[in-house]
């Protein structure tokens, strides 16, 4: 008993310095954690080199390869590797039997069971996809944050305001701030944004995030750089380089847009209400080129309604 009591008091005496030591160690870890999180942007030559890589051609090849029909006996072992590598939740898939999918392309655009994703009725805006929130918040001075501290220009992302270009007004000479002011956001309102990153193992179809109507589509046939969080932290203006399709219209509060941004090996975007759209074409277009389509009869969508899908290729 004596030994135990003396040991206990010894531990008590040790408590304060041990706690201080742990706190110091925590501080040290925190310091280096913050150090590691410091933004280190790619230099211009890094970005130029990265953009020179034939990622679109490689993606098209990857897409074609994954459209080949696999023999039935190979489907389960090969697709299981993908499921294991990217942590896909097979129990949520409408078809759980891997033998049913003729190739990885089909598995990639798999549907989910109808009951596994209930749509939130209490909030006006819901997530259009499974993924990770890269960033969200207010758009200030025409600049959007892709991750904390790394930005891209709203004007570069959306292009000239289509409502105004119809009347022949050129707004390319405007600053980012002036561009946002010209979007015509109503007094008492603000412009907000949300970026959702879909990892390779995620469900790759996407849905309408709210009740809204589409009046316009703009397709930027850009590049197919990776959009993983690490690259988003590294390449400033990443989303303005990539191939993307912007659907714009209105919701209960005014302007609303949803943009599907392609990525390396996932450059094929299909939108169910827009059969004319083709992406990741072999024809090279200069940076900033875009193609417009106006819907003379706006297309209405309800919250949760199926909207489109990303495909390999």
């Amino acid at each position: 008993v004596n030994t135990a009591v003396s040991k206990k008091s010894r531990w008590r005496r040790l408590g304060l310095p041990a706690g201080a030591g742990l706190a110091l160690y925590g501080g040290y870890r925190q310091f280096f954690y913050v150090e590691k999180e410091e933004i280190k942007l790619a230099k211009n030559w890094h970005v130029t080199l990265y953009r020179k890589m034939p990622l679109k051609a490689i993606s098209r090849l990857w897409g074609r390869f994954n459209d080949l029909h696999l023999p039935v006996f190979l489907r389960h072992p090969l697709l299981s590797i993908y499921v294991w590598m990217f942590g896909c939740n097979l129990s949520e898939a409408e078809i759980e039997d891997l033998k049913h999918y003729r190739n990885l392309g089909e598995f990639f655009r798999r549907q989910l069971k109808s009951h596994v994703r209930p749509i939130d009725d209490a909030h006006s805006l819901t997530s259009p996809a499974d993924g990770k929130i890269l960033h969200h918040g207010q758009v200030k001075n025409g600049v959007v944050e892709q991750v904390k501290g790394v930005t891209y220009s709203l004007r570069g992302f959306l292009g000239p305001a289509w409502q105004r270009t119809r009347h022949g007004e050129d707004i390319n000479h405007l600053s980012d701030k002036e561009y946002q002011e010209r979007l015509g956001v109503k007094p008492g309102h603000r412009l907000y944004h949300t970026i959702i990153y879909l990892a390779p193992g995620d469900y790759h179809r996407f849905h309408s995030p709210t009740q809204w109507s589409i009046q316009h589509r703009r397709h930027f046939p850009g590049e197919l750089l990776s959009v993983s969080p690490g690259v988003a932290r590294w390449v400033q203006g990443l989303f303005n380089f990539n191939e993307r399709v912007v659907y714009s219209g209105t919701w209960e509060h005014g302007f609303f847009s949803m943009t599907a941004v392609g990525a390396t090996n996932v450059g094929s975007i299909k939108i169910y209400c827009d059969e004319e759209l083709t992406t990741n074409n072999s024809r090279k277009q200069p940076h900033g080129t875009y193609f417009d389509k106006s819907f003379s009869n706006p297309i209405s969508f309800n919250k949760g309604e199926m909207f489109g899908e990303f495909n390999l290729g």
Partner: protein, 31 residues
């Protein structure tokens, strides 16, 4: 791949999400 939403909303629009957190299709983003 990525989905980007850009939208107009009242000043008091309330986000229900956090950066770097996973989200599932149909879950609340804001109101």
């Amino acid at each position: 791949s990525t989905i980007v939403l850009i939208f107009e909303a009242p000043n008091d629009f309330d986000f229900k999400i956090e950066n770097s957190k996973k989200i599932k299709f149909g879950e609340a983003v804001g109101t």
